[in-house]
Homo-oligomer: 244 residues x 6
């Protein structure tokens, strides 16, 4: 039995539910997917400030996952917050959904376009595009100007579709990437309407983590991603202390 | 039932056997893996010349796979020969093993080192590193100076292990990538001895193709990777003609 | 006497004729230019599939050229198919027309725009732009949407001119590059009408090869481009076998 | 009166003292420098985990600074943790010490070498080198293998000096950058011994922030760095909630 | 007392006056700013030819500054002419205004747009963007099509403002950079109207040089920027001879 | 009759003689090569200062060449001083020897190594490597530590040979580039001893200029490289004034 923990780093339970459902739909037989949201942090992640404040709660979930024997993790926010720190904490593989979506999209064509939520998140997305090596492959990053928590409603969802159509037209790209965990269930519909592959990071990351586990592969631990050493932590964060 | 065809582009039947066995070992229940080698082409691929001459035979296998209803393909040579052409021909996803290994390795650490066969293949490998976006992630490409068809023997296998140890030491990288389909069964041993994740492209590509199929994702076909148009082909290659 | 072989990798005799005529017009006194087309392969190259299938026929021409004592080669298709393999086979220099056109254009201004045939070839062109180092110098790659074999007719030629004018306007570049061997005889006319230097790869490559020969320079053969080693080749391709 | 707040994101009071003293020594007349350390977080920052957990405490200091009318901020940890989030929160300029040191070093020569603490921090440093655009200018990143809190002792300080000498020799660079706030007071000594400019980020950042304030320049707030919107925050982090 | 020499490399006395006034306005108490223009060279710099011919006169000013005990230099032309040569001649730091403006702008947001004078200067500006490492940070370089010496008149100044507004709109950038020393006094007005930080290189460079002096930092002199060696110079340029 | 002017930008007559002789040896029948050195400037170019002071004299030679009806120019110093300015002045093509050598070398293998004179010139060489797009192709830049004017003596020539051997060994490159006009006559000997192609910029540039002229190609003049406009020039440089 392979155990994957999908962590939604915001505190919206509705989104945790959607994310978990989407992940389970693509998991192989023999893979158990659990979705979790942190007990502390912002209800949605739409700024660097939100992202920074989501990380402690997310790391608590990883630490709990380690105690529970989880085999691998998905970080289900398109800014991939806390990814490096989570890789230090976890024994098994950890994959972010931006990372997963971009890797997956690059296998399906020469270029992809990303459609995300608010324009203020474009900078972080571009950072990740460079970090992961997709500067040439990413033909454009576009905002739909829909706040994260509005993504469930029909009207905003139509806006996302329109933003996707415009992105495809302008970028002349081969593939679309949806830039928010809250868009996970829009893939099929957009792909059917626009006739191109549409990649959602939640499902892509779930399959990547599942694959890494099947291949017996874990994060390399010889230097940068070794477990954090024992250290004194002060104040509100005392729960995070790594004992000597 | 998911059907994956793993194509070894050289004509060595022993290597086709090894490649198929390794791929099957990591496939999920419900995935049928078939390995095939072309009836024409070089017995091993160690030069641009060899790679160029392997492609027509490889494309015949893809065309046959399409007739047989194959869902996705792995090209099992680390130079990823014919990958773009195969993506035009096939309906389902096609993944090369160099591509797969690099994407997979980049999920396991910041940097990886590649250990390949003859030094004359390093140039092509570097080309692929750039093409796939791993210029920053790839800390080095190293030759073991072992010809492809010698990889089954114990002495050459020790050389590969030593080249891996030296690469790790010099590059200070997190992950190793084995740069030849013929090294597919060396992963476990090298990882156990050197204490780092070791990625083989054959198994990595098998899981990536399987995942893409599970996600319902195929190559984008709106422009560059549309099927080749009908055209007159002359001479020995008439079997490849795309009818109008 | 310097002997240059210009190889048109498709089987269109008309294009071979045009290509040879254009090359001869710029050759120095004392240079003999011969144009050849392969006896096998596609009648035009408009996809990765076509390009892959053109290479074996092209390599036969190079092998024949070596037997005939040819001093240097031009590969007259803008995708530069088989360039690396040809460099392994040939003793003298081999230059592709995309490569030649880009190097030449970069000597005439800060940026150049490329106008090619079908939009599906843009991806390959961009690959070559990166491979040759012209990522900064190339201001844009544009399709005229004219199939290769239609380039002789007046109406399509007007489309190419219009695509060139639009590219110049949008890219604000200094120089134009024509992205197909079949456009070789359009240079003068477009340059006269648009008032900028217009580079055709066939003539540019002919002069580069001629220059390399005059300088006594050949492909470096110490590792990657050494002649392919002896090896067993199977099936239709037995003619390509390198004997021990 | 210009008011600058230098935030040491770890909880080591000794280091906060050193950092404040160094900053005050270079401040112009009319600049008041205050140094602060957070009441929560790790006592030193030597992993991604430590860095992530330092950010909430750091943001509390920024919020307090805003209430106190601070004109600009220095983040005094070489990983520049929380820099983007702090820019959203603050009205005035915010500069990280890695950022400041690299910009400053690049004005003093063609290339610089960075000497940092533990080798596990090299990856983050490289990330910042790329993010800030110094990929060509940075000739190398080297670890002295000295933990942050040992930097006050004489023996470790000698190790840092030796690591600097080796870096200069191997990289043939023009300038040295010290990669930890705890090295701030080593500059003069190392420069005197090795005969090259040595840049410390704490003092460099203090002068940059002071200059930006003198120029009347603040973070651009039109999109990415606009103040975070009002939002519900849960759990331990409720103190960070941005009220509507 | 810190002594900074701001050199306007063209011979326009009006512009030297403006440049000096702007620099003095931002200098700290205790900094003496002197502005100088060369006695030989072009009256404005609008081509590579002009820039090349401005350098000898500029170097005479640096040599004179060295004799006068100047502590640091600003080169007040946005092409940063003669910067490397001046760094060899001067003991103290030398900063160009393009360099200063770009470094400063990059501290205020993710991306900046540059608005310059004639379109023929865009190429040089792009060169500097790459050289200084701001390829990702620079969202666009735009010409206002105003000759340098017309920048004092009201109508051209309105054109610059309009070019700035258009640049911001198209590039979606966070910060504006004014690409000519003659625009130094336009900053405040444009920033007030457009609501974004606007960086002028003259004032930015003055503060950077002042900061470097305060930090005790000078150009690294161990190799590339060592003083030019003694050598025989011929003809009109005999005044430049470095004596043995 | 094609007329090419090869300008040695330093005032060493011996070097002008060598450069002219080398250029004439490779010129085609029908090409007249003239070599010239300026009447003002440094006797050798070994610093940014020297390079800057060589440009006015070099531009006088170009202006004279234009009056004499020269068809194209070679700038025979490996720093390519004044190249952009010369392109503005001249009607015909202008090629620098660093530029020519790198373009030529890149046609002969995947990577080349450059061996130059003093280590202080490496920075400028790297600048040109980036500017021309050969960041990936250039495997290393190495100094022989031989001053320019010593290159005629036997002992220094042996040092250059040794530096070349070491560069090849360390860089594992396919091709050597000699990084000084004064090394033009060393090519044959080094190539014979080391068994790799060795490119000298003087001869390479002569053939490139000759080829551009044969192709009817000149510098694009629509914007950046248009002739410099009429302008007032002051002082020693009044001879350079462009009349209205």
């Amino acid at each position: 039995m392979t155990r994957i923990l999908v962590i939604n780093p915001n505190t919206s339970r509705a989104m945790t539910g959607t994310v978990g459902r989407c992940a389970r739909e693509v998991a192989a037989p023999g893979t158990e997917v659990r979705a979790a949201g942190p007990s502390m942090g912002p209800e949605s992640i739409e700024s660097h400030y939100d992202a920074a404040l989501s990380v402690p709660g997310l790391l608590i979930e990883v630490a709990q996952g380690e105690a529970d024997g989880v085999d691998g993790y998905v970080i289900a926010c398109f800014g991939d917050p806390g990814l490096d720190a989570a890789r230090e904490l976890a024994r098994g593989p950890v994959v972010g959904i931006a990372e997963a979506a971009m890797h997956t999209a690059s296998l399906l064509g020469r270029t992809f376009s990303i459609v995300t939520t608010l324009s203020r998140t474009i900078g972080r997305t571009r950072d990740l595009v460079h970090r992961y090596g997709f500067t040439d492959a990413c033909a454009g990053v576009h905002a739909s100007d829909i706040p994260v928590l509005d993504l469930e409603a029909p009207e905003p969802r139509r806006h996302v579709l329109e933003a996707c159509a415009t992105a495809l037209e302008n970028d002349r790209s081969d593939v679309l990437v949806l830039g928010c965990a809250g868009m996970a269930d829009l893939c099929g519909d957009i792909s059917a309407r626009l006739g191109v592959p549409v990649v959602d990071g939640v499902t892509a990351a779930t399959k990547l983590v599942e694959s890494l586990i099947a291949l017996g592969l874990r994060t390399g631990k010889r230097d940068e991603y070794a477990p954090p050493g024992p250290k004194r932590y002060t104040g509100l964060l005392r729960d995070f202390t790594i004992p000597p």
